[in-house]
Subunit: 181 residues, 2 copies
């Protein structure tokens, strides 16, 4: 039986933070550069602003026009699909307004993924695959299989996870796994 | 650590088939009684009607006003939540238009469920919990943990699964599991 890989969406497939940075700068009087914005995910907003941010993200189209984070991703996933069962697992429950936009984004950019293999969840402890590629150490810790940390400046100090920096490295990692088997 | 239970929605929590029967009778010239309709899930519609049915189910509100299948479910799940980690796992990917309605249905009828524990998926092989309660033998076979078949006339001939007929029985089953532990 094929081994299975679950792939997170935001900051692994979709470039969420570039858009989020603009949303911050336009709404909260900040002037973040991309580099500054990616240094941390800890941005303690006053309660009123946090509510406003949630409402903006929860708009039905917010997640629809995100750019693909690394153009290699598409081809690598298509290749991996020949040897692995590929699932997409995104914590969409954090922003319930995003369901349709996230689904349509996947249909546009990864039309070869089986819709039966798309998972909108919250806590990824519930995901039963052999591997999970995610930028969140919290989700990788909850996950029961082999976690692979998609490297981002804000997770640079996290240790104890296998770390990848781009989709070429992901391809190389899984080619090696096949050779070991 | 608490053991975990994933619970299907349609025909376990929500009475989907009563509404589906009316949809059939109103659109496809049938005259099914409830009893007749529940005998089988095999209803080979001509391609055009199948498309029409999908479009009707895919309307944003179709799944919003389904009745609770067994009123005991709410109280039993609330009780079980003290001893088990409860997840809701529904094959929403079959009908992507249903995402918001299904989410809102859960918020209305099971507001005590953590949103982080809601999963919209397709194939339930991807669900990592100790138990899954589902009316679908196909999903229970794909699932890797202990499957519990929610009995329906259309699955009456399926053997090899632990079978429950209502939520009182589910409660009794899990009370017994706790005594065994």
């Amino acid at each position: 039986m094929k081994k299975s890989i679950a792939i997170d969406m935001d900051q692994v497939l979709a470039d969420f933070y570039s858009k989020l940075r603009v949303t911050y700068n336009e709404n909260f009087g900040t002037n973040f550069t991309d580099e500054e914005f990616l240094r941390t995910t800890q941005r303690d907003l006053p309660r009123e602003d946090a509510k406003k941010l949630f409402d903006l993200l929860n708009e039905p189209d917010y997640f629809r026009d995100l750019k693909v984070l690394d153009e290699d991703a598409i081809e690598v996933i298509q290749d991996l699909q020949e040897h692995y069962e590929i699932f997409i697992a995104t914590a969409a429950m954090d922003v319930p307004g995003s369901f349709t936009a996230k689904y349509e984004w996947l249909m546009e950019h990864l039309p070869f993924i089986k819709t039966q293999n798309i998972v909108f969840c919250g806590n990824k402890a519930v995901i039963h695959t052999d591997y999970l590629i995610d930028d969140s150490p919290r989700q990788l810790t909850a996950f029961k299989g082999t976690g692979i940390l998609y490297s981002m400046p804000y997770n640079r100090s996290e240790e104890g996870f296998m770390r990848v920096h781009n989709w070429k490295e992901i391809k190389e990692y899984f080619i090696k796994q096949m050779e070991i088997v």
